[in-house]
Each structure stands twice: as C-alpha cells, then as structure tokens.
Symmetry: C2
Subunit: 105 residues, 2 copies
DNA sequence: TTGACAGGTGACCGTTTAGTCACCTATTAT
DNA sequence: ATAATAGGTGACTAAACGGTCACCTGTCAA
C-alpha cells in the first residue's frame, strides 16, 4: 500500500509536533525547528527525512540554509481514501440508531 | 497526547487490513479474521489487542468465541482534531492561489 | 582567508515491535 | 467423560526505530 509511509510518518509524536510547528509557520530552517523540540539536531533531521519521504514536508535550499514547508496533500489523500470511509460508516450507524429509536415511538 | 495510540495502531498495514475486514463485516471471531491475513493466530491476536487498546475494535465474548466489532469513533476523533485542520489549510492555500491567479487578469 | 555557521553522513546503541512457539484454560459436541 | 475447538500467556528472536555522536562539506562574513 502506498499510504504506508504516510501512516508511519504520522505515528510518531515528535513528527506530528514538527508538522504542527510548520503548520503555524512555514519555511523554517532545521535550527529553528530544533529549538521547539528538545532533541539534538540529528534526531530532528531524521524525523524531517521521514516526513519528507512521505511527502508531508517539502524543502528548498537557500544558501547554506534548508527551508521546510508543509505539504498537506498526503494528509488529504489518506483522508479521502481511508478516514472518510470509516467516518461515513459512523454516520450511517448513527442514522440507523436514530431510525431505531424513532421506531420505538 | 491521547491520539498517540490511535496513530500507532493505524501505522501497521496488517492492522489496517484487519480494520478493513471488520469494515466489510463486523462481529467476526479471531479464527475468521486470521483466515484473511496470512499470519499465525498469535500474530493476529497481538494486532487485535493493539486495535482494542486504541479503542478501534470492541469485543464481546460469546461462549468460547470472541466477537470483534469495529468502532469508528477514534478515527473520527483524529479526523476532527487533526486531519481536518490540515485539510482546511490546503483549501485556503488553493483559495489563495485562485485569488492570486484572478488578480493577474 | 580563516573562522563561524548550517547542514549532512555513517556508525553505534538501547528500546520497541512484529511474529512465532510451547504450553495452558474454557467451552462445546459426541 | 473426553476429544475437539476457540482463545490466552509468557518467553523468545530478528528487525525496525529513536536518538546520539564523531566527523565532514558547503556557505557566508570579518
């Protein structure tokens, strides 16, 4: 399955935090991101690589800096192909319950 | 973070397959689920435990059988608290692009 | 041009995780 | 009663993962 990298990338709390930081403000450098994460540069770098491989983060070099940008498209992908399916089921379950309750009148 | 178990549970392809099987038809036994998964009973049991701990699967004993049911509520939780946030950003990014393009006329 | 700065690589290590197995309990059917 | 059936536990192994470190490259400013 192709979504696997995305799910795996989202499975770590530090990586979700990094996404949140980029959500607040895009285009940050590694150093900047490290400041908000309580971990060495190397750890953050590894996490960013995982996020980049999953397509959740996209980068651009600018001189000696590397700028990181959030890409929400993969999240949309798993939403559409996966999450939404289960949400719809839940909605229909609620509707069934509603109908059932209404029949009791 | 409380969503952590849910994200971790969703990170494994076998577990997502098990959820899909339960999505197709609820209330299956361990034996039944095992048949669709190419793994020993024990492996499947472990995965089901992870899913159960995350609240994604709910069970009921019936004699010597244990029936497994899908619970989509946690998926809705991460959708509402997490996925949707990023989707909305994507929408606004598209709107910004649209506006930018329209200004060029 | 030299020193400080931002980032990158490979090896390393402890922990977690996926998966299997020998063995056990509880329920059902004969 | 007893044999087959469904499920459960604890120990174990190999692989993956999170995190750090020594060391290296490229860029910018004094």
């Amino acid at each position: 399955m192709d979504d696997d990298n995305i799910f795996k990338a989202l499975a770590d709390p530090t990586r979700r935090l990094l996404l949140d930081l980029l959500f607040q403000r895009d285009g940050r450098t590694l150093k900047e991101l490290q400041a908000g994460v309580a971990m060495t540069r190397f750890g953050v770098m590894k996490h960013l690589k995982v996020l980049e491989d999953a397509g959740l983060v996209v980068t651009r070099r600018s001189g000696r800096e590397k700028l990181h940008f959030l890409n929400a498209v993969p999240i949309r992908t798993i939403h559409d192909r996966w999450i939404n399916k289960y949400r719809e089921r839940e909605v229909s379950a609620l509707l069934a319950l509603k109908t059932k309750l209404e029949r009791k009148d």
